[in-house]
């Protein structure tokens, strides 16, 4: 038997999960577009969106107020949900890969604690709300840089475990500072909590425009390192005998993931759980290769958060649930269900 004639191909990139996740994403986007308290005609809402495609000119027949609800409120909000969900899920997949740790999520190295401190500083000092995102972003980045700095005190070639522990220390410290500030300014607790529980902006396209560049750079960096992440699956020492510099890959992947997660958190607060459950669910369908795992985590994360947001704003008449509550409330049982019913991977 000659090797050249063997039917053995490369394991083909499985298109199934990609197609399914894009389908789910489209359903979620469609639902977010047509459902809402304002009772806009679904068909006309779709025509209204198509009208905004360049070179397409259609008349939706919506009143200018209804048109504004669709184009200035619903569409930017669902796009923002998609961007935030995709970025958190992609960053989570990357963190899990680079640290070979299923518990890793985008907040692992202090993004959440740093952003929380930044946002709390803005809130308790009575700064305008427009300063919350930049301060939250800065806090997140400072926390991760501090974690890296702390980890490299004992030499820059320290292992991923040292970095994780440094992140834990930094996060604890930042959280303590935040709690202290919060306790000193009890009158702002509601506002701080509402930020912590996460919310998707109601500021039209502004948040989307802010987030897009960071999100796209983050996705591109992570996607560029997808093969390196696959090599890192055999651990740092073996990866390095295969010609990969694990320290450099870790630095680049963490930088890319942190950039995206920090920007997402800055505009939307601390939305829990997306970055950890979406990549796990996707991995059960796609297998561990980051070539498929990363893109499907992006589409899956977008679909998940759009759906969660739809639930958040429709389930309770006359008010919205915080999105972070919905992601955990829906996500945790769903995840438990998946884990309990999946077949043990055997082949």
């Amino acid at each position: 038997m000659s090797a050249a004639t063997l039917p053995l191909g490369p394991p083909r990139p499985r298109l199934g999960p990609v197609v399914v996740s894009v389908g789910v994403l489209m359903v979620a986007a469609f639902g977010s577009l047509v459902l809402g308290p304002a009772g806009v005609d679904p068909w006309r809402a779709i025509v209204e969106v198509l009208d905004h495609i360049p070179l397409v000119s259609l008349d939706s027949g919506l009143s200018s107020q209804e048109a504004a609800i669709v184009w200035q409120i619903r569409v930017p909000r669902l796009v923002l949900a998609g961007l935030v969900g995709a970025t958190l899920a992609g960053s989570g997949a990357a963190y899990q890969g680079v640290f070979r740790n299923p518990l890793a999520d985008p907040y692992l190295l202090g993004v959440a604690a740093g952003a929380g401190l930044g946002a709390t500083i803005a809130i308790v000092s009575g700064l305008p709300t427009s300063t919350i995102p930049p301060l939250a972003f800065t806090g997140a980045v400072v926390a991760v840089v501090a974690a890296f700095g702390l980890a490299s005190l004992g030499g820059s070639r320290r292992s991923g475990a040292t970095l994780i522990l440094s992140g834990v220390a930094v996060a604890a410290f930042f959280t303590a500072m935040q709690t202290y500030l919060q306790q000193q300014h009890a009158d702002t607790i509601r506002q701080v909590f509402s930020w912590i529980l996460g919310r998707l902006g109601t500021t039209g396209w502004g948040d989307v425009r802010t987030l897009v560049p960071y999100a796209v750079v983050s996705w591109l960096v992570l996607f560029a390192y997808r093969r390196h992440l696959d090599v890192m699956a055999v651990g740092e020492e073996e990866a390095s005998t295969l010609g990969i510099d694990p320290v450099r890959v870790r630095l680049m992947v963490v930088a890319g993931a942190t950039l995206g997660a920090a920007a997402a958190v800055a505009v939307s607060g601390l939305i829990a759980f997306v970055g950890i459950i979406v990549p796990h669910i996707v991995r059960l369908a796609t297998g561990p290769s980051h070539r498929v795992l990363l893109p499907v985590s992006l589409t899956g994360g977008a679909a998940f958060l759009m759906t969660a947001d739809l639930v958040a704003r429709t389930v309770q008449s006359g008010g919205e649930l915080p999105i972070g509550v919905v992601t955990a409330f829906v996500g945790a049982p769903f995840f438990a269900f998946i884990l309990a019913t999946r077949r043990e991977v055997s082949a």
């Binding site: 191909g9 090599v231 699956a233 005998t241």
Partner: protein, 258 residues
């Protein structure tokens, strides 16, 4: 062709010296077997030669100093079969062996048909084709060890560092794997440096044997010179009988009681 030579190699973990001044030289096509009791520093020596731990002294691969080479260049020259390889979750044997092609894949690129062909050839050679689509974690210990060796062979390196490559294999597969490595090093002029706990195999396959004890080279030379009964009992604390045969000494453990 690339030989390996090193002088005065030292290594320490947390201040404790594990290798103190190891010298060795291995020519292309030659097989050096490193033997020694548990904790002697054999694995550490191989890790130093692969450049994954900082080591003192000079290590030269071919005409280049190890510490002046880039990781990719080292990986294209040195392939390692670790003593306890990491088993990645959910990765197929094919994808796992493909990792060996990493030094040849452009930094931002993906593997091509030539890489897939090479992986297929190696899998065929190690009787692993029927396992190609299985996950590495689902293989038996011996099948897994062959998959690790396959990954190292796919690396097309001229220096093979094998750390106990046969511990999980049955007798037939031990012989088969050692014969395969023996054939490759003869036909392709590979440098093979391996550790082997089975001293009889060490004698049969090694051109030379190096006895390492507590980080120092105690003896080095042809198998018959190094593997003498009194040397083995002194350094391994074992009671053995060494039977001379034309293909090398057979080291036979004997019971002193019962």
């Amino acid at each position: 062709m690339t030989g390996v030579s090193c002088r005065g190699v030292t290594a320490r973990y947390n201040g404790a010296t594990v290798l103190s001044g190891v010298d060795l030289a291995v020519r292309p096509g030659e097989w050096l077997v490193v033997v020694g009791p548990n904790g002697a520093g054999k694995t550490t020596l191989l890790r130093a030669l692969a450049g994954v731990i900082p080591a003192g002294g000079d290590i030269v691969l071919g005409d280049q100093k190890l510490n002046q080479m880039r990781r990719r260049e080292v990986a294209a020259r040195v392939a390692v079969v670790p003593q306890t390889p990491v088993v990645p979750d959910g990765v197929t044997v094919f994808d796992y062996v493909m990792l060996g092609r990493t030094p040849y894949i452009p930094y931002w690129g993906m593997e091509g048909p030539a890489d897939r062909q090479r992986v297929t050839t190696v899998l065929e050679r190690l009787d692993l084709l029927s396992f190609a689509g299985r996950t590495v974690s689902s293989l038996s210990g011996g099948e897994r060890q062959r998959a690790v060796l396959a990954r190292a062979l796919a690396q097309d390196a001229s220096i093979l560092l094998l750390d106990e490559p046969t511990t999980a294999l049955d007798l037939g597969h031990q012989q088969q794997v050692l014969e395969l490595v023996d054939g490759l090093r003869r036909e392709a002029g590979l440098v093979v440096i391996s550790t082997l706990h089975d001293l009889t195999f060490a004698a049969q396959f090694g051109d030379r044997v190096l006895l390492l004890v507590a980080g120092e080279v105690i003896a080095e030379g042809r198998p018959g010179q190094v593997l003498r009964a009194e040397v083995v009992s002194e350094h391994f604390g074992a009671t053995v009988e060494v039977i001379e045969r034309p293909d090398g000494p057979v080291v036979l453990p004997v019971r002193t009681r019962g």
